[in-house]
């Protein structure tokens, strides 16, 4: 596996605030890599350093084998979708894409071919001549994504791409991205607040206060930091005394009894031992919310 992005001991300070505090990580070619964190955790600062919008204070940062000091060599391989559209609202979709495409040295023929490809793929033909300000939120996001992919980059950076979008449009955006990941070896670097987006990532970095507090695949993180649950809907009341005696955390409400375990093995052993006391159960794997809460002590609200 090749490291397409490699960050070593990266530090970025804004006067006395440590926005990014000595972080290191690498992104493999073709993977979906997610940054998870609250506002101000350092996610966007890290991305802004990678794309050269911000200068670093210390550390090393390599993209596609080049140091970020060589911006002109890095940027042709990067496409970025910002949280809100940065395209020209008074220009048509066509003009917006044409002016941006030409900055990548594309010929007119190449631009027209790529535009045809994307407009067919994303059913954009009817909006190509429209002014950007006249489009809906979902249509604008489509244009943002086409702008980022038009020059066929190796790395797609998505800075909270679905924040503020309705669930249907969020699904549409992810369908598009997944489609391109399937057909190309596109590396996706994602920052998000949405757990459902993080859970499909190959690797996740959780940031808090400018530091990386946890990293790994969603499964690894869940196994390491989230507790598994047994949810019992029909059970013998004797189990409550057993749980109290064994000091196993549990919670009983009208619907079910929820029993927490540190890992799946312990849950399985408990079930085997006391199977006679349970009639209707399910084992629930800990969620990324639990992981985040466990490693940061903070709750990640999806409405952030």
């Amino acid at each position: 596996m090749t490291h397409i992005i490699e960050i070593k001991n990266l530090k970025k300070y804004f006067s006395n605030t440590k926005a990014v505090d000595d972080i290191s990580f690498s992104v493999e070619e073709g993977e979906l890599f997610a940054f998870l964190g609250l506002n101000g955790a350092g996610k966007s600062t890290t991305i802004n350093i990678i794309v050269g919008v911000l200068a670093l204070n210390s550390g090393e940062c390599f993209v596609n084998g080049f140091s970020i000091d060589e911006r002109q060599k890095i940027l042709p391989d990067i496409g970025i979708v910002f949280q809100s559209s940065v395209l020209d609202k008074n220009l048509s979709v066509y003009d917006n894409l044409r002016y941006r495409a030409m900055l990548y040295g594309m010929s007119k023929k190449e631009f027209e071919e790529n535009l045809k490809f994307f407009s067919e793929k994303l059913e954009m033909k009817e909006i190509i001549k429209k002014q950007l300000s006249k489009l809906s939120g979902g249509q604008k996001r489509k244009v943002d994504i086409v702008r980022a992919l038009l020059h066929k980059p190796k790395i797609l950076i998505l800075d909270e791409p679905t924040t503020g979008l309705d669930p249907k449009t969020r699904r549409l955006v992810w369908d598009m991205i997944n489609e391109f990941r399937k057909t190309t070896n596109l590396t996706v670097l994602l920052t998000t607040h949405y757990m459902e987006e993080v859970s499909i990532a190959d690797n996740v970095v959780i940031m808090d206060g400018g530091k990386i507090v946890a990293e790994g695949s969603p499964l690894t993180l869940k196994n390491k930091y989230a507790k598994d649950y047994i949810k019992a809907y029909k059970y013998d009341e004797k189990i409550l005394a057993i749980l109290d005696k064994a000091n196993i955390p549990h919670n009983k409400d009208k619907k079910c009894l929820e029993i927490k375990f540190n890992d799946t093995e312990k849950a399985k052993d408990f079930l085997v031992e006391y199977s006679a006391l349970f009639n209707d159960i399910e084992i629930v794997k800990g969620s990324m919310d639990d992981v985040f809460l466990s490693v940061t002590g903070k709750e990640l609200k999806e409405t952030v």
């Binding site: 940027l75 990067i78 910002f82 940065v86 008074n90 220009l91 002016y99 941006r100 900055l103 040295g105």
Partner: protein, 303 residues
């Protein structure tokens, strides 16, 4: 990235900036209407006052009314052009608008050099200003053709050169200021200040010799004053030559001095070439400052 492709990017960015500026029809109309309103106000309120000044100088000599109308018309229109080259250039820049809309970040993450982007702002600002000012010039020439037209081909070339160099001067000055701000409030404030103040301190709204001595010395230190006098020469040289056929030379000289067709710098007459050199060198110096600021900003970012 070779120079040819960087030049291509420059042309596309410049084209984009101009298109964006003129896409907003109201902006273009306001840019055009403001100087025209100024011209109308000049004609309505000041023309008769300037006619009286001419009569007081010629003191009883006969002078064709057409020549007087051509002189006052040319004087008033040169004032409008002298201020418009600067005020339009301050109000037609895209740099701050891009900062406000965050389009500049989109360009920062595109493979385009910062210097190319900055140059595109200056060029598009200049071309947008020139488009507006040349439309104004066409309207002014039609107006002069109606009241009395004495502009020679050489004078016309002088006017065109002066429009280009003064617009470039205003554009570079504006872009130096815009480099340090990303606030629409600052832009509006500076535009209002320039629109209100510039006409007075460049000697466009009133003849320099009607100002106090200290103010006369102050305005003679500003490059904009030299551009105004160049416009006066372009529009009025022909009328003065025509006046010379019926009036004594001293009187024509008196009119020329009284209405800033001639300029002195602390008692020394400044020739037409001198005027051209002052405004051209000032523009080159401003360009140097603009480049220096951008180099320093780039170095600061790298640190």
């Amino acid at each position: 990235m070779n120079k040819q492709s960087e030049f291509r990017k420059l042309t596309y960015l410049t084209d984009r900036n101009i298109k964006l500026y003129f896409k907003d029809k109201m902006t273009f109309l306001v840019s055009l209407i403001t100087p025209l309103i100024l011209l109308v106000l000049f004609i309505v309120f000041l023309q008769s006052a300037y006619e009286d000044s001419i009569f007081s100088i010629i003191n009883g000599f006969e002078l064709d009314q057409k020549l007087i109308d051509a002189f006052t018309g040319g004087w008033l229109f040169s004032s409008v052009l002298a201020t418009s080259c600067i005020t339009v250039s301050f109000c037609s820049g895209m740099m701050v608008i891009d900062k406000i809309n965050k389009a500049n970040i989109d360009f920062m993450v595109s493979p385009v050099k910062k210097s190319t982007l900055q140059l595109s702002y200056v060029l598009s600002n200049l071309f947008s200003t020139l488009i507006v000012v040349f439309v104004l010039l066409a309207i002014g020439l039609i107006y002069l053709a109606c009241v009395g037209f004495y502009i020679t081909f050489v004078d016309f070339l002088l006017i065109v050169f002066n429009i280009i160099i003064t617009s470039l001067f205003g554009t570079v000055l504006a872009n130096i200021i815009w480099t340090f701000t990303s606030s629409q409030g600052v832009v509006s404030g500076v535009c209002t200040l320039v629109s209100a103040l510039y006409g007075f301190i460049c000697g466009a709204y009133m003849p320099i010799n009607t100002m106090g001595e200290g103010m006369q010395h102050f305005v003679s230190l500003l490059p904009g004053t030299y551009a105004t006098v160049l416009f006066r020469q372009g529009f009025l040289n022909g009328v003065l030559n025509e006046m010379n056929k019926t009036l004594p030379n001293e009187m024509v000289e008196g009119i020329a001095s009284g209405f800033d067709v001639k300029m002195s710098f602390f008692g020394h007459d400044v020739s037409t070439l001198g005027l051209i050199l002052v405004i051209t060198i000032s523009t080159i110096v401003l360009l140097g400052i603009f480049l220096l600021i951008n180099c320093l900003k780039k170095k600061k970012k790298q640190k």
